[in-house]
C-alpha cells in the first residue's frame, strides 16, 4: 500500500493536491450553509451520471422502441423503477439546487474579482443542465414529452434570423420525429455531458485556486474559518446522505411516471406544459401581448430572455460597486426581483 502510494506520488502531482486540500479553509459566518449548494450540485451530477449509465444499459433510442424500453426498465428490470425514478427526481433536485446556488452567489456577490470566471463557468453549467433537462425529457417518447418538445422547440423559432434554422436543427426536420429523438439522445448522452464534465472541471479548479468567497457583509469583525479537510468535507457528506434519503423517499412515493406512448397524429393532450423549471418562461411569454411596437410579442420575449441571460453572464463586469469592495444595493434589488418573479411565475404556472 505504501509502495503504491509512493509510486503514485512520485509520478503525479498528488502531494500538491493534498497540500492544497489541507490548506483549504471554509469561512464561517451566518451564510455558510450556502457553501453546501455547490457540493450538492456536484453530488447530484455524479448521481445523474451513474443512474444515466445504468439506464443506458436497457434504453433504446428509436421511435419504435424508446417508449417500450423505458416501460421495460420500469416493469421488468429489477430496481429499474428505482434507478429511473432517482434519475428523474435528482434531475429535478439538481435544477432546483442550481437555482439556489446561482441566486445565493448572486446575492452574496461572490462573483467579485477574482471570481468572475467561476461565475461565468457556473452560468454555462446552469445552461448546460437546463439543456440536459430539456433533451432528457423527450427520451421516454411519451405523449407529454412529445408535446412539450414540440412546444419548446417551436418557441425557439421566434428568435429572429436564426430561430427557424435552430428549430429545424434541433428537430432534425420540420417536425418532431424519430430523428429528433435520436438527436436529443446524442445531445443528452454525449454532447452536453461532455461539455458539462469539462466546464465542471474548470469550475472546481477555480474554486480550489481561489478558495471560498467571504461575503462583503461578513467581512467586518473577526474572520472565522474551518478546515475543509475533514471538517467541511464530513458536513458535505452528511448533507449528501440526507439528499439521498430525500431522493429515495420521493422515488418510492412518487415514482417517475410514463403515461402513453407518443402519437404524432394524436391531438395535443390537454394540460400540456413544460417541466416546472421552464414554466416561468412559458408563463411570461403567455403574458406578453401579441405585438409590441409592430414586433411579435413572442420574439420580444425570447430576445428579452437572451438579453437577461447575457447580462447575468456578464454581471461580474457590470457590478462595478461590489468589484470595488463596496455594497451594491442595486444588484441586490435586481436579484430579489428576479427571485420573486421566478417564484411567482412558476407558482402561477403550477396552480393554473
Amino acid at each position: 500500500m505504501k509502495k503504491l502510494k509512493q509510486f503514485l506520488y512520485s509520478r503525479l502531482p498528488l502531494e500538491e493536491a493534498e497540500n492544497a486540500l489541507k490548506k483549504k479553509r471554509v469561512p464561517v459566518h451566518r451564510f455558510s450553509p450556502f457553501y453546501y449548494l455547490g457540493g450538492i450540485c456536484l453530488y447530484l451530477i455524479m448521481l445523474q451520471v451513474i443512474t444515466g449509465i445504468m439506464l443506458l444499459l436497457y434504453y433504446r433510442p428509436t421511435e419504435e422502441q424508446a417508449f417500450e424500453s423505458v416501460q421495460f426498465i420500469m416493469t421488468k428490470v429489477s430496481f429499474g423503477w428505482l434507478v429511473r425514478s432517482i434519475h428523474s427526481w435528482s434531475s429535478n433536485l439538481l435544477i432546483g439546487a442550481l437555482f439556489v446556488h446561482l441566486f445565493s452567489t448572486f446575492l452574496l456577490k461572490a462573483y467579485r474579482p477574482p471570481r468572475e470566471l467561476t461565475w461565468m463557468t457556473g452560468m454555462l453549467l446552469f445552461m448546460t443542465c437546463l439543456g440536459l433537462g430539456f433533451t432528457g425529457y423527450l427520451l421516454p417518447w411519451n405523449e407529454l414529452a412529445y408535446s412539450a418538445t414540440k412546444v419548446g422547440t417551436e418557441m425557439l423559432a421566434a428568435i429572429p434570423l436564426i430561430g427557424q434554422t435552430l428549430k429545424e436543427f434541433l428537430r432534425g426536420g420540420t417536425n418532431v420525429t424519430g430523428i429528433t429523438l435520436t438527436r436529443f439522445f446524442a445531445f443528452h448522452i454525449w454532447v452536453l455531458p461532455l461539455a458539462l464534465g469539462m466546464v465542471v472541471g474548470v469550475h472546481l479548479l477555480l474554486v480550489q485556486k481561489q478558495g471560498m468567497s467571504r461575503p462583503l457583509t461578513e467581512s467586518s469583525g473577526p474572520a472565522i474559518s474551518m478546515p475543509f479537510m475533514p471538517h467541511f468535507l464530513l458536513r458535505d457528506l452528511n448533507v449528501w446522505l440526507l439528499v439521498l434519503a430525500l431522493l429515495i423517499t420521493l422515488s418510492f412515493y412518487f415514482p417517475a411516471h410514463l403515461g402513453n406512448p407518443a402519437d404524432p397524429l394524436a391531438p395535443t393532450p390537454v394540460g400540456i406544459r413544460p417541466e416546472w423549471y421552464f414554466l416561468f418562461m412559458f408563463q411570461l411569454l403567455k403574458l406578453l401581448p401579441a405585438h409590441i411596437l409592430g414586433i411579435e410579442g413572442e420574439q420580444i420575449g425570447i430576445l428579452g430572455f437572451g438579453l437577461i441571460g447575457l447580462l447575468m453572464f456578464l454581471v461580474p463586469f457590470l457590478d462595478k460597486k461590489s468589484a470595488a469592495g463596496r455594497k451594491s444595493k442595486g444588484f441586490s434589488i435586481i436579484g430579489w426581483v428576479m427571485i420573486a418573479a421566478f417564484i411567482g411565475l412558476t407558482l402561477w404556472g403550477v396552480l393554473e
Binding site: 479553509r25 464561517v28 420500469m74 416493469t75 421488468k76 423503477w81 473577526p222 474572520a223 472565522i224 474559518s225 474551518m226 478546515p227 475533514p230 471538517h231 464530513l234 458536513r235 457528506l237 452528511n238 446522505l241 440526507l242 439521498l244 434519503a245 429515495i248 423517499t249 418510492f252 415514482p255
Partner: protein, 432 residues
C-alpha cells in the same frame, strides 16, 4: 327577364359541359341526353320546381347510367316545340299517379334482361317483393294511397344508389327515412301501429351501434323487416330474423325446453324477453333479481324455472365477484407501478368465460352455466393470486425503502456526532 334567361342559358351550358365531362365515354345515350329538348326547356322555365327537377336528375344514378327523360316519361326529346315533344301520340305518358308508381318503375326494374345491361348485380325482384309487403298489399288490396311507394324512400328524379351516403336508402339513413312516415302521428293516424319505433330504436343497442358508432353491420329497420318486402314479422319468423346474426344464442335456445313452450303458445321467442325496437344491452338483473327479472313474467315464484334463474344468476355473480376482487388487487399493484401484464391476461380470459356464461343462459340449464363460471372463477383466482404475489413484491420494496432510509439516517447521525467531536478538538475553528 332578360337577365334570367341569360342566367338559365349559362346554366345550360354548364350542365352540358358537366355532362360531357362525366360521360366522356361518349355513348349514344349521352348524346341523346345532351340534345334533349326536355332538359333545355325545363331549365328555361322560370318556375324553380322545373329547374330543380332537372338539377336533381343530373346528379342521380339514372342520369349517370345514361337514362334520359324519355326512357321513363316517353315523348319526343328531339322536337323543338313543347306540344310536339309532349304529345301522347309520340308516346308521352306524363307523370304517373302515385298508385301507379310501382308499375312505372317496374317496367325496367322487374325486367332482368333490361337491367342486366346496367348492373347485373342489382336484383329485379323489388316489385314482386313490394307486392307482398305491408305497403304493397295495402295499396293493392285496399287502395290505400298513403302507403309508401318507390319514390317515398328513393326520391323521384335524383335517385341515388343505396351505397351513396347521401341516399335516403343508405343504411345509416334508413331509420330516418322510415320515420318520415312511421313517426308522424298525424300521417299514421287511424292505423294500429305505434309511432315510437325510431325513438325506441335510437335507444337500443342496434340503434346506438348504427347511428352513433356508424357501425353499418348493425341492423337498420331494413335489417330485420326487409326493405321492399317490409311488413310486420310473424311471431315464428322473429327468432330466425335475430339468428341472422345471433345464431349461436338461437341454437342454444332451440335446444332448450323453452323452444317447445314458445311454439305451444305462439310466442315470438327472443322478443319475449328482449323486446323488439328497444333492445337494450341485457343486464344480469334481466335474468334474476330480488325485485324484477324477466322470468317472473311467466314463472311463478318458487317454481323450478325461477329456481333455475336464481341459480344461474348466482353462478354469474360468483364469477363476477372473483373477477372484481382480482381486478381490485391488480389495480392496486399497478398503481404501485408493478408489471401487471400477466394477471391482466388471465383476467381477460376470465372475462371471456363471463361472456360465454351469459350466452349459455339461453340453454336455461344452471349446470351448463355453472360449468363455465367455475372455469372462469379459477382463472380469476389465479389472477388474484398473481396480484397478491405482486403485492408481496411491493411489500419487499417498501421494506427495502424503510430500512435504507433508516441506514442512511443512522449514518448521518453518527457522522453528526463525529463532526461535533472534531469541533471539540480545538484546532478546527481558526480566527484569522
Amino acid at each position: 327577364m332578360n337577365l334570367k334567361l341569360n342566367f338559365s342559358a349559362r346554366k345550360l351550358i354548364c350542365f352540358c359541359l358537366f355532362t360531357i365531362l362525366i360521360l366522356a365515354g361518349n355513348t349514344d345515350r349521352t348524346f341523346a341526353q345532351q340534345t334533349s329538348s326536355c332538359i333545355s326547356c325545363h331549365l328555361e322555365e322560370v318556375d324553380d320546381d322545373h329547374t330543380e327537377l332537372v338539377e336533381s336528375f343530373m346528379g342521380g344514378v339514372h342520369q349517370k347510367r345514361g337514362i334520359s327523360c324519355v326512357d321513363c316519361h316517353g315523348g319526343d326529346a328531339s322536337a323543338e316545340d313543347m306540344d310536339d315533344a309532349m304529345d301522347p301520340d309520340a308516346g308521352y305518358n306524363g307523370a304517373p299517379e302515385r298508385k301507379d308508381i310501382p308499375e312505372f318503375c317496374a317496367r325496367c326494374h322487374a325486367d332482368p334482361g333490361y337491367m342486366r345491361g346496367f348492373n347485373p348485380n342489382l336484383s329485379t325482384d323489388q316489385y314482386s317483393k313490394y307486392l307482398i309487403s305491408g305497403h304493397g298489399r295495402l295499396l293493392k288490396k285496399s287502395g290505400d294511397k298513403k302507403v309508401a311507394v318507390c319514390t317515398s324512400c328513393h326520391g323521384v328524379h335524383g335517385i341515388l344508389a343505396s351505397n351513396d351516403p347521401l341516399s335516403p336508402t343508405f343504411t345509416l339513413n334508413v331509420p330516418y327515412t322510415c320515420a318520415n312516415c312511421h313517426s308522424d302521428s298525424v300521417y299514421m293516424a287511424g292505423r294500429d301501429i305505434p309511432v315510437t319505433q325510431l325513438q325506441e330504436y335510437e335507444s337500443s343497442v342496434h340503434g346506438q351501434a348504427l347511428l352513433q358508432k356508424g357501425d353499418r353491420a348493425a341492423p337498420s329497420c331494413a335489417g330485420c323487416h326487409g326493405s321492399h318486402e317490409a311488413r310486420r314479422p310473424e311471431p315464428s319468423g322473429v327468432a330466425n330474423t335475430c339468428a341472422q346474426c345471433h345464431n349461436y344464442v338461437r341454437e342454444l335456445f332451440v335446444s332448450s325446453p323453452h323452444k317447445a313452450a314458445h311454439e305451444k303458445h305462439g310466442y315470438p321467442e327472443c322478443e319475449v324477453c328482449h323486446g323488439n325496437h328497444a333492445i337494450v344491452k341485457p343486464t344480469d338483473d334481466l335474468l334474476y333479481s330480488s325485485s324484477a327479472g324477466i322470468c317472473a313474467d311467466c314463472h311463478e315464484n318458487d317454481s323450478d324455472g325461477m329456481r333455475a334463474a336464481k341459480e344461474m344468476r348466482s353462478s354469474i355473480d360468483f364469477l363476477k365477484a372473483h373477477i372484481d376482487s382480482a381486478r381490485n388487487v391488480i389495480e392496486l399493484v399497478r398503481f404501485y407501478g408493478m408489471d401487471t401484464d400477466d394477471p391482466e391476461y388471465q383476467i381477460r380470459q376470465a372475462k371471456n368465460k363471463l361472456v360465454q356464461s351469459r350466452a349459455l343462459i339461453h340453454t336455461f340449464s344452471p349446470e351448463k352455466v355453472a360449468a363455465v363460471t367455475q372455469e372462469g372463477s379459477l382463472l380469476a383466482q389465479e389472477a388474484n393470486a398473481f396480484g397478491q404475489d405482486l403485492l408481496k413484491q411491493y411489500g419487499f420494496r417498501r421494506k427495502g425503502f424503510i430500512f435504507s432510509v433508516i441506514v442512511i439516517l443512522a449514518l448521518s447521525f453518527l457522522l453528526t456526532i463525529k463532526i461535533r467531536s472534531l469541533n471539540n478538538n480545538g484546532d478546527s475553528i481558526q480566527i484569522d
